[in-house]
């Protein structure tokens, strides 16, 4: 058991260090320590299940140790900024005022192709229109457009639109969600009347219905099976 704990700690910190040195690109959507924990736990849990000769405890103890490491590292890094940047790294500025910072790109092992791919996935085709392109510590590239390229907000246009409220699901796959209906301040009578006005007498014929407190709805009927 002691060996299992020590080995888990060694592998955890070795992976943390390796992944940190490999750069942010490998991480996807997770923070570094989350990524390492997720990568290890998935494999650890499978071993005692596949091999009946391994005691279940040999799988459970490392999972608990990893859980403790993850909680402790997350907690400590929340309070100590230096430690946080040491473990998780710092966000990197890859684009500034339409100019690609090549040294930073190289430091993060980010190729121009990958940069273009990331930008396309965010609907940005012109690098000149970007004020800042920041590679976050979780490996995600965030793009802030130049003020002139940003979409105009309602306030900038002098408009004051009303908040229609948060849409809640009222019918999901033919099932009425009574709690959501009550929370919106509506009742069955309102629902039946609304359904009738949209040509759906029976809630079981509805695939999805959402409603806002203002009464605005979205309704999709189930498709007929061929």
């Amino acid at each position: 058991m002691a060996i299992v704990i020590i080995r888990t700690l060694i592998v955890y910190f070795a992976l943390l260090l390796t992944m940190r040195l490999m750069g942010k690109r490998q991480l996807g959507e997770m923070e570094l320590s989350e990524f390492v924990t997720a990568a290890l736990i998935a494999d650890l849990a499978a071993h005692p299940l596949q091999d009946m000769g391994i005691p279940l405890l040999n799988g459970l103890v490392p999972i608990l140790v990893l859980f403790c490491c993850e909680v402790l590292i997350a907690g400590i890094s929340l309070r100590h900024i230096r430690l946080r940047s040491l473990i998780f790294g710092k966000p990197s500025l890859l684009i500034q005022q339409g100019r690609i910072l090549q040294q930073e790109m190289e430091k993060n092992r980010f190729t121009p192709d990958e940069l273009m791919q990331e930008l396309r996935s965010q609907g940005v085709l012109d690098i000149n229109s970007i004020a800042y392109g920041v590679l976050e510590t979780n490996g995600r590239l965030n793009v802030i457009l130049s003020p002139g390229e940003q979409p105009a907000t309602a306030r900038q246009m002098g408009l004051n639109p009303e908040d229609p409220g948060y849409p809640s699901i009222v019918i999901s796959a033919g099932r009425v969600l009574e709690a959501n209906l009550r929370h919106l301040g509506f009742d069955r009578a309102w629902l039946e009347q609304t359904l009738r006005s949209h040509g759906a007498e029976d809630p079981r014929r509805v695939f999805l219905m959402t409603a806002r407190p203002s009464g605005q709805i979205y309704l999709a009927l189930k498709e007929e099976k061929p």
Binding site: M1, A2, I3, V4, I5, I6, R7, I10, M52, G53, I54, P55, L57, N58, V61, L64, V65, F67, C68, C69, V71, L72, G75, I76
Partner: protein, 126 residues
Amino acid sequence: MKRELWALTLLVLLCAGAALNVCTADRLIGTVEQSLDRAEHAAARSDFDTALLALNTARDLWDGYRCYTHIFLRHPDLDAIGDAFYQAEAVLRQHDREAFPALLAQLRFHLDAIDRMEHPEPGSIF
């Protein structure tokens, strides 16, 4: 902060459990090996009844910890020790004084391997 304290407590408890496990393994294997020593000496004097009694005591001690061993130790290791006990007993029943020490050495090797495996030493960690 509360969550981190819980995690730290759990980690300390796991370490304490690991230390307790090392002590338990040491004590169990030490006691079993004492009985094996008695069996070896008796067999050397051709006192096979006493040797068989000592070997059975060792096996009873080992089997008495079945719950512990099955939770903490790898099952192939347990099977190897069980087989070694049965082979040593078979040889004793045939009053084979020559073969018994070799089988006993094999049994001790398996027990020592388990003991070493539980000790946090560089050799077992890496």
